[in-house]
Structures are given as structure tokens and as C-alpha cells.
């Protein structure tokens, strides 16, 4: 007779908190010493940082300038516009997250952003009476969207158009539509700034996407003229840093179009430069995906009688783009950080506002200034978004097969 002996639990010394501690912190005498020394340094550094942040730092000056940080000099009575744009963005995100419930990555990102906005909405309800209701609307929008998405998953099919409408409509609303009217009057772009401007410039990734795909296809074209031009554009643009292209664009665009520089707002020049720059990098990312599509796929498509155009748009591109989503998210992170370079054309984006705040008389009167506080604050905000994107990118990579294809 055989009797199955149930597996015994691992020895108590090999599991649990103590075992983990021993393995990771105190595995040998040298390791213990290292742990103690590093721990001591870490604790003292953290204590110093906390002491500074809680007692010495002048956060009041950052708090008082929250509006400058958010929208810079955007007219005070028009603050509802960026908040409406934000609310619609969250609504659409909510619908997508609610409808595509199996997409854990999208939902994770959605809840993080919602939490971030909800924090501000709460703050607004308590401290910012002038924009209280719009912040509240923005805070509720994602939940409404999520509910709508759960109830009507069919909405997902309309999302492409909704996003396009949001992008165009958002720009129009921020800029103003009817000159002279009260609600929809023009808000001059020189008053745009702060985090709003950073986000506006970040949307340059959208037009750069089709441009980049076109360039990538052109680079793999069999026609030498098209191929040469595409390679030249991609390599020249990628060869020089973005800050130089921003500078060059701000100088040359008025000359190229032979118009008065005042007719071309700095924000437009920066947008063009960022779009073209981003398109060149996008092209290289997409090219990586195109190369990863097996030759047999194209041959099979041709054998089925698909035209060249159909082969590319129905067979090659869907596979290629799927493979490079993590790389594109990586590019989004890079672009999000690089929007801080628009200071070179005189724009006051989220980063540059800190310089404005730091030179206010109220800031200068504080011994030591408030730069440390300001930089810490904007670093945290930048970090929040960039890190969240990099987490999503890593999840995508894992889902797409460890990034190997």
C-alpha cells in the first residue's frame, strides 16, 4: 500500500519576514555592515529632507502661485475653458476604460489620472471658490464616463471620432471662437502657459504619428527619390537636438513663409518644430516595427490578391504598430519631458513658470529663495506622469511578449 505523504511546509527558517530579511539584508557579515551603514545614511538623509520639507520650506509661495503654474496668465474669467477640456478628456478616458474592461493597462492609467485630478478637485472645492464647480465637474467626469462605458461598450467604436473632435474642439475652445464675445472671445496665445501649455505642446505627438508612419514607409520605399528624401529628413532632424530645432524654427519659419514674425505666434512655431522632430523619431520607431513583420505576411497578402496599398494598411501596419507600442510610449515620455525646452522661444511652460515665480518680490524676500521648493514641486508632477507612462510601457512590453518579437 502506498500512501501519499502530503508535502511538508518549507522549514520555518526559509519563509516569512525573518527569512526575507536574512536573505536580502543580513546574508553575511559584510552584507550586514553594508545594510547598517546604508540604512544610517538613508535615515539621516530622509530625516533631513523631511525636516526641510515640513518646517523650513516656504510652500506658501508655491501654493499662492498655483494658478500661474496651472495656466499662467490665461484670462481668469475664462478658466472654465481648460477645465471643460480636461473634463471631456477624462470623460472620454473613462468611457474607454469602462468599455474596454479587460484592458488592465488602460484602466490602471485611467484610475491614476483620475485620482490625481480628484485630488485637485477636492482642493478646489475647499480652497478655490472661483473654479470650484468646474473642478468638481472635471472630478466627476471620469466616473460618469466610466459608468457610460460599462453600460454601453458599443461606445468604443465611436471613440476615434470623439478623440479627433476633442482635439480640434479643445484647441478651438482654448483659443476662443467668436472674437469680441464674452464667453467665446479670443484668449491671446501669449497668455497661455503653465501646465496647460505643456499639455498643449504634448499633443504634438498626435500629428507626428501619421507623419512618422509616412516617413517610415517612405524610407522603406523601393522608389529611390522618395527613399532618399525620407532618409535625409529623418537623419538630419535626428542629428541635431530639439532645442536647436526650436530655435531654428522660431528664426526661420517667418522667413520661410515670408510673413511678419508677429503673425506666427511662438506657440505655433514651437508646435511645428516639435511635430517635425517627433515625426523623425516616430519614423525610426515605426521602421523597427515594419522590419519585424515577417516577409511571409506580405507574400501571403499578395497571394490573396491584395493591392500594395491594402497589403500595407491591412496587413503590415497593424502588426508593425502593435509591436512598437512600448517604443512609442517611450517616445511620449521623452516628448513630455522635452516640452520643457520651449523656453528657448520665449514660451512660459510648466517648467519656465518657476522662473517667473522665483523672481516675484514675495519670493525674493524669502532668505534663500523658493527655487528649491518650486523645482521639487514641478519635478514631482513631471515624475508622476512620466513614471506612470513608463509603468504602462513596461506592462505593454510584458503583454506583447517580453519586448521580443
Amino acid at each position: 500500500m502506498f500512501r501519499v505523504i502530503p508535502a511538508r511546509p518549507a522549514p520555518s527558517g526559509e519563509t516569512g519576514v525573518l527569512a526575507w530579511l536574512r536573505r536580502n539584508l543580513f546574508s553575511s557579515a559584510a552584507n550586514t555592515l553594508l545594510t547598517l551603514a546604508t540604512g544610517a545614511v538613508l535615515v539621516s538623509a530622509l530625516a533631513g529632507l523631511l525636516r526641510w520639507a515640513l518646517f523650513d520650506a516656504a510652500w506658501a509661495q508655491v501654493w499662492a502661485n498655483m494658478r500661474l503654474l496651472a495656466v499662467f496668465r490665461y484670462p481668469t474669467d475664462l478658466l472654465w475653458r481648460p477645465l471643460v477640456v480636461l473634463a471631456v478628456l477624462l470623460l472620454l478616458l473613462g468611457i474607454m476604460a469602462g468599455a474596454a474592461r479587460r484592458n488592465e493597462i488602460l484602466r490602471g492609467a485611467f484610475w491614476w489620472v483620475t485620482g490625481f485630478v480628484a485630488l485637485f478637485a477636492l482642493t478646489a472645492v475647499v480652497f478655490w471658490p472661483s473654479v470650484r464647480w468646474f473642478w468638481l465637474a472635471a472630478g466627476l467626469a471620469p466616473f460618469i464616463g466610466y459608468g457610460a462605458g460599462v453600460a454601453r461598450p458599443g461606445l468604443l467604436r465611436a471613440m476615434r471620432w470623439a478623440w479627433a473632435l476633442w482635439l480640434v474642439g479643445g484647441f478651438a475652445l482654448l483659443h476662443g471662437i467668436v472674437p469680441g464675445s464674452v464667453l467665446l472671445r479670443i484668449a491671446p496665445t501669449r497668455d497661455w502657459g503653465g501646465f496647460m501649455l505643456t499639455m498643449v505642446l504634448f499633443t504634438a505627438i498626435v500629428p507626428s504619428f501619421p507623419l512618422g508612419v509616412a516617413l517610415a514607409l517612405g524610407r522603406r520605399s523601393r522608389l529611390p527619390a522618395i527613399k532618399t528624401v525620407c532618409i535625409a529628413f529623418i537623419e538630419v532632424v535626428r542629428g541635431a537636438p530639439l532645442i536647436m530645432w526650436l530655435f531654428v524654427a522660431s528664426l526661420l519659419l517667418p522667413l520661410l513663409l515670408d510673413t511678419d514674425p508677429n503673425n506666427l505666434p511662438a506657440i505655433l512655431r514651437a508646435y511645428v518644430a516639435i511635430t517635425l522632430f517627433s515625426a523623425a523619431y516616430m519614423a525610426e520607431n515605426v521602421r523597427g516595427g515594419l522590419q519585424a513583420v515577417p516577409r511571409g505576411q506580405i507574400e501571403a497578402a499578395q497571394a490573396l490578391g491584395l493591392s500594395g496599398w491594402q497589403t500595407t494598411s491591412l496587413i503590415v501596419l497593424p502588426q508593425a504598430l502593435r509591436a512598437v507600442i512600448p517604443a512609442i510610449v517611450g517616445q511620449c515620455i521623452a516628448l513630455f519631458k522635452d516640452t520643457s525646452l520651449v523656453f528657448v522661444v520665449g514660451l512660459i511652460d510648466f517648467y519656465r513658470v518657476t522662473e517667473v515665480i522665483a523672481t516675484q518680490p514675495a519670493s525674493l524676500s524669502i532668505t534663500g529663495g523658493v527655487k528649491l521648493e518650486l523645482y521639487l514641486f514641478i519635478s514631482l508632477v513631471y515624475f508622476f506622469f512620466a513614471y506612470r507612462m513608463s509603468v504602462a510601457s513596461r506592462q505593454l512590453e510584458k503583454r506583447l511578449g517580453g519586448g521580443t518579437r
Partner: protein, 599 residues
Amino acid sequence: MERIPFWRNVKTIGVLAQVVFVMVLLAGVAILFSNVTSALSRANLPADFGWLGSRAGIPIAETPIPYTTNDPYWRALLIGLLNTLRVALVGVVLASVIGVAVGVMRLAPNFLIRTIATIYVELLRNVPLAVQIVFWYTAVLLPSPPRINNPVELPGGVLLSNVGLAFPFLYPGDRFAAWWPWLVTAVLAALVGGIWRARVARAAELPLRVWPVPVALLLGIAAVGYAVAAFGQPEKSALAVDFDVERGRGTVFVDLDGDGRRGAGERAVPFASTVVRVELAELTTSTQNLSESRRMVPSTFRFPLIRDRDVAEVEVGFVDADAAEQAGYRLHFEHFPSRGVVYVDHDGDGAFSRGEEIDPVTGVGYSGVELVMTLRGFERAIVADRDGQIRTPSFRPAGSALAADDGGGDTVGRGVGVFSSFGAAATEAEIEPLRAEVDLRASGPLVLSRVHVPVSSYEGGMRLTVNYLALLFALVIYTSAFIAENVRGGILAVDKGQREAALALGLSSGQVFSLVVFPQALRVMLPPTISQFLNLTKNSSLAPLAAYGELFVIATITANQTGASVPVALLLIVSYLLISMVFALVLNVVNARIKLVER
């Protein structure tokens, strides 16, 4: 058989498409070109490179090669390029070192070390470089270190202040010309010796060490040459120093006419080693309430940095001793004799205690208390700078401060005193005139130039400005986070079996890493790391945020001054493309070298 109509022939369509594409492109370019030319001519802006030769007038703080504001634009731009390379090359080396260290730390068995490395990487990768540069520049390096006349003295003669970092440095002295043929010989011999040794090792099929042979050859020949050059027949030189002790400035030059004064056409000599002696002199200063390192420093006085070895005897006192006694002022030295505070001994313990430097009535420090330092037997070895200049503190004749003060009466009427002191020159008999002598010393092929602070700037040694340091720190730390990720990926890519096999062979864990794991990881991590090096170089164009004069900064200033936006843009694009091409070339060579040789 039916022929394909030409409009459905793929070849024809391709040719036609290209013709149309090129024509549209050319038409577009032509329109833009005519736009640019008409806009340029209308605005009367230069479209050629003629301005390159005209006077730039751009002040640049850091110039690797001699430069004045009278030099032309091309030289200013060249300095910009050199400054770019200066920050990029040093940055690449430092970023690699830190990147490898952090990358290895991310895989450390110790949880704390691993976590710190992870936080380092994630934090720095996800915050814009622009923010990091201004953080280092305006939030750390400008406000945190003390002022230039109160520098932090680090071991090895390194000084740190809010002007920058300065450290002793070796410069080619007057015998360098005799040494450098030896240096060339040494390098050639090392190359030949190394190749020979490698051949021998390969022929003998023995694991011989190759590197000791070339290194020994290099060092040996260079050392012999150094000795020959240093102790050989000294050249008959006609060097002299034109030194003005009142201004504290002098020039080492080739004295052609032998009159000891530098006339026209007499060349300045760089890096000459001199000794300046001043028998009896004094320095004056007065106390100030300063804001330094983010806090107020009341009642502080700062003389130029004088070290013990500089002087035989030194004393510091009040210019108006009677008034000081009346007010109860005392001196407390933080660093004798140069730095300290004036205080009043309120608690009567005979020594300085915190808070005593603040006037209890007004709540601020005692400012404007005049102090005098009397020095006997000042002697300092000074190595002339690149332009042959030497500098000392601006000494005054001993007794002159006292004489000026006596004429002025008491300290209350100080404003009046200054004016009346001109009339008080009657006491001139007490003033001893300044006597200084400067000796030129023979030096070897290399001269060690030490740092000193004669007035309010570093002189001698190697100086790195805060701007350079801020840009360098930010670039190095930002890039090192990316390199660390490459290193981690490279190490993880090495098969686990390799490590186990190496351990089974009895190698120590250090040997396993340095002989087996790292060389194989290098193959994976080198290509992305080289593109990080290129990123670092391109990112150095964020220099305007740290006010460091590299290529992009100089080019923007040039474009603003001359209005030559198109030529400047072309120059910039071509320069960056060249830099990118050099990196691409290196990358290709490296890729070819590290490629697995498949049989």
C-alpha cells in the same frame, strides 16, 4: 497576349510617382527659397558668411584657447564647440563610471542598495533634464557653497565656492619643449612594444600579460626624458617680470631690451614659476552682514585667503582701536588670519559664543567696522597663467590705513573722515613704502600650479566655473540613469549558465564578474550606451539654462547680434550632424569589433 497598359505598369507608375514627387518637392523648395531670399533682402539681413570675420564682442567666461572680446565670430564659435566637447567628453567618462556602478547596484543582493539604485534611476529618468540643470545651477551650486573669499578647502588644495571649483593642475613649463620629443618617442615605443608583445603571446599560445610591456616602455622613456629635460643644460633665457605691487599684477615676459619693463613686441611667457616676496605690507577690509549659503552671516570680515606658509608673521587689528575698545568689539577667527567675525562679549566669558555677533539693540550685525591685517615676510610661489599674468592681493603700504584713519577723527564721522583723509597726508612719515621682489624659478617640463585667491577670483590651477559644474552634474547624473538601465539589461542578458560554469571552475565572485559576466554583458550594453553618449553631447545644448558658453549659446548670441539667422542655423545643423556622424562611426566600429565571430 494582352499587353499591360502603361498606366497600370508598376514600373511606369513608380517612375511617374517619383517624377511628380520630385517636381512637387522642387516647387516647394523653390517657393520657400524665394520667400527666404525676399524676406532677407527686405529685412536687410546677411545671407552669407561674411560676418564670421568681424569682431564678436561676446564675453565668454571659459575659454580653452586664448580669446578676447576683440576676436572675430569664428573664434567665438570655435570656443563654443570646444566648450561643448569639454563638457561632453568629461561627461561621457563620468556618466559611464556612475552608470556602471548604479547598474550593478540595481542587481545587488542587498535590498537597500538595490532599492536606492532603483529610486535613483526612476527619479532621474522621469524628470526633465532642463529642471535638473536649473536645480543644480540655481538651487544648489549658486546658493549653497560659500562665497569666493570664504572657500571650502578640500584636501589636496582643492577650493570650492559659489564661483566654482579650483584644483592644482600641471601645466607645461619652459622646459616642456625639451621633453615632448621624448613623449612622442615613448608613445611610439609603447605602440611598437605592445604589438610585438601581443604577437609573441599569440605565437607562443601562452596567456602572457600584454599590457605591462607598453606601459613600462611608456613610463620609462617618459621618465628618462623628464629627468634629462629637467636637469639638462638650462636654456639661456632672458625672462623678466614686470610687477606692480600696488595693483598686485604682473606679467612674465621675454625681456628683449633688458630694461625690466614690458614694452611693445615683448612676448608674454605662460606658466613661468615665480616667487613673490613682500617684506611689510597691510590689507584692509571692513565687516559686512552677508547672505551666504542660504543664511545670514552677520558681522563677518574676509581678507584675501592667506595661509600659514605664505607669511612669516601676521596680525589683525582694528583700524580705529580706541573706538573698537569703546564699543567693546572683539575679533573671533573662523580661519586665522583671513576670516572671522566681530563680536561684543555680552556674557563676559572672554570667548565668542553664538549670537554675540548681533547687535542686541538693532538686531543686525556690526557692519562697517574697519580692520587691518599687517603682514611681515609675505612669500608666495605663483605660477603665471596662460597669458603670463601673476596676481597677488592688492597690498597697501604698512601704516597707511592708520594714517588715513587718524586724519579722519573718530568712527562716528566716518563719512567726513574719508574725505578729510586726503588732507591728512601729513602723517606720511609713518608709512613705509611697499617693497616687493619677484624671482623667477627654474622649473621642469611640467609645473604644478596651485590655486590662490588674491582678491575675489581664483588664480592658478585648473578652474571650473559653477556653470560648467552645474551642466556637467546634470548631464552626468541624468545620462547615468539611462546607462545604468543598459548595464542592467546587459548583465541580465548573460546566460545564467556562464556564471555557474565560472563559479564551478573555482573563480571568485569578483573574477566571475570581471572576467566572465561583464565582458559578455558589454556586447549587449555597448551599442545603446554609445547612443546615450551621443544624447549627452546633444543635450549639452541645454547650456543656456546654466549660462555656460557652449556652441548653441554662442550661436544664439551670434544670430541675435548679426541677424544672420540662416547662416547660423546652417552652421549649427552641420556641426551637430558632424558630431552625430562621429558617434555613428564609433558605433559602427564598436559593433564590428564586438560582433560574435561565428564559425
